[in-house]
Amino acid sequence: MSLLIDLQNITKVYRSGESEFHALKGISFQLFRGEMLAIVGASGSGKSTMMNIMGFLDHCSTGNYFFSGHNVSRLTDKELAVTRNQKIGFVFQSFFLLPRLNALQNVMLPLFYREEPEALARNKALAILKKVGMEKLIDHRPNQLSGGQQQRVAIARALVGEPDVIFADEPTGSLDSKTGEEVMKLFLHLNQEEGRTIVIVTHDKGVSHLCQRVVALKDGLIVCD
């Protein structure tokens, strides 16, 4: 298995006025392609900050971040956006679909920012929606879909750009246990059958048990791997 993410002594400090808050106090961690990883920890333990840095939403304060061999710790905003668009797929707790767009348009959004021709983007989005079992509801808007259906569309949006890794932040947090299980089954399928690398941030034991590797954070440090 090849190394995908290599964090070397990453710290993150938030400053507001005089006070400083050390969200991450020196994280060293490696993620290999094809892994399915759960990051667990209490709220405020730094797990979301870690995901944001790995997902190119945020810069780290010190330390080095290598993504498939390249040092990406000091990218500009624009480079971060391009990397996010091409290498990363996000799934969020409350789905974060654009309410004015239908399911198909939501899935096409990352390809729109990649400037792919519309017809090609459409075909790709349709194929992915079929894979997550949403092909019959492509013209529905998010408010016409159930929570589980919305999360499937969000997963399709994360997958459509063929990313190297998918980050899921509490993907089952807003779902009832049955639909939550279905969503987890989908993630397991994507990992086991298609070999996709998946990182799930959660505090749900039932979710982390399904993952082959669990990393626990406490007060900005990895306490268990």
Binding site: D77, A81, F92, F96, R100, Y113, E115, E118
Partner: protein
Amino acid sequence: MPACCCIKRWANRMRLINHVQEGLANLLSSKLRSILALLGILVGTASVVAMVLGGELVTNEALKQFKTLGTDLLAVSVNDSDQGSTSGMLNNLTLPDIYALQTIDRSIVEAAPYAQLYNSSQFNGHELNTSILGVTESFAHLVHLGLASGRFISTLDGYEFFCVIGAKVNSQIKRLTYLDAVGQQIQVGKNIFTIVGIAKPWPENSFVYADIDSTVMVPILTSTSLSKYAAINNIILRLTPDANIEQVQTNITNYINQHVADKRLFFRSAKELIAHMSAQSQIFTVFLGLIGSISLLVGGIGVMNIMLVSVVERRREIGIRLAVGAKRSDIWALFLIEAVMLSLIGGTCGVTLGVIVAYIMAVCWHWEFTLFFMPPLVGFTVSVAVGIFFGYYPAYKASQLDPIEALRSE
């Protein structure tokens, strides 16, 4: 930086169409607010267009009278100079002086002297409200005075007692007789004049100091014999189009002072008058445009206000777009296009409304309506510029949002 990126991107038409479609959908999703912002731009643009177009129409109206006369006229008023006043009428200009004057400068094509008198006149014993104008044959031609019937004064009339009456004099006479005025007689002082022609109505203008419609025009030689105060003290000259007006004025002054008497001359050239009036009305129009711009400015602030509210409300959306890989320039373009579309639609409606308002003004005040190309173009351009100017800051603010912060906001 974002601007340059976006222009490059806008070359991709498909993308621009997508942006525009999306912008339109966003504007439609909060209709009332969009309409209010649009209304501000609409009223602002309409007032700019209506004011500037109205100003142009007034100018046009004022210049119209000159345009019918032609721009190559020069009017000369001859006054006695203060020192020479004792010499009196002996030194007045005579018709031969005028003929000689025509030959002193190659630029002078034609000269029409006229003498003005204020003798009373009667028709069938009824007092007429007129003045007397002594004219030559060339007068009608020079000031573009048409004839309704009969003939104009001729050089051959010499000292004869023939007259041509203005349009208003004709209507005064019509009230007193059923007969055609031509062939009838008018009494001026102790002299009886036979009417030989009736002039068409003539628009008054400040170039000729006489209300021709209310005058009785008689041969100039006859007029000088009517009163001891009668004198040829006005000359209208037609010059060649390339004439050097200042040179002509100097030549005329020198000639009259050397060959006739010490006179004080006042010149008015149509070209200068028109230039002067144009310059004045230009200032007037610019001033009106500025007043209109103030309301456009208020409209622009409205757009900015609404875009800022929109940015705050759509923080979550901005966060999502950033998370799936939108660049800051994409967010910037998204909001700027919405602002520009607001002002574009408002501007288009405003130009239409402004032209309609100007048209209504023209109808009410009996101006001739011409749809000038400039005012609508200016209104449209300025409204779009206002959209870009006032949309820039909210769009910039949106593009600078932190993705994590934006995603976290409710």
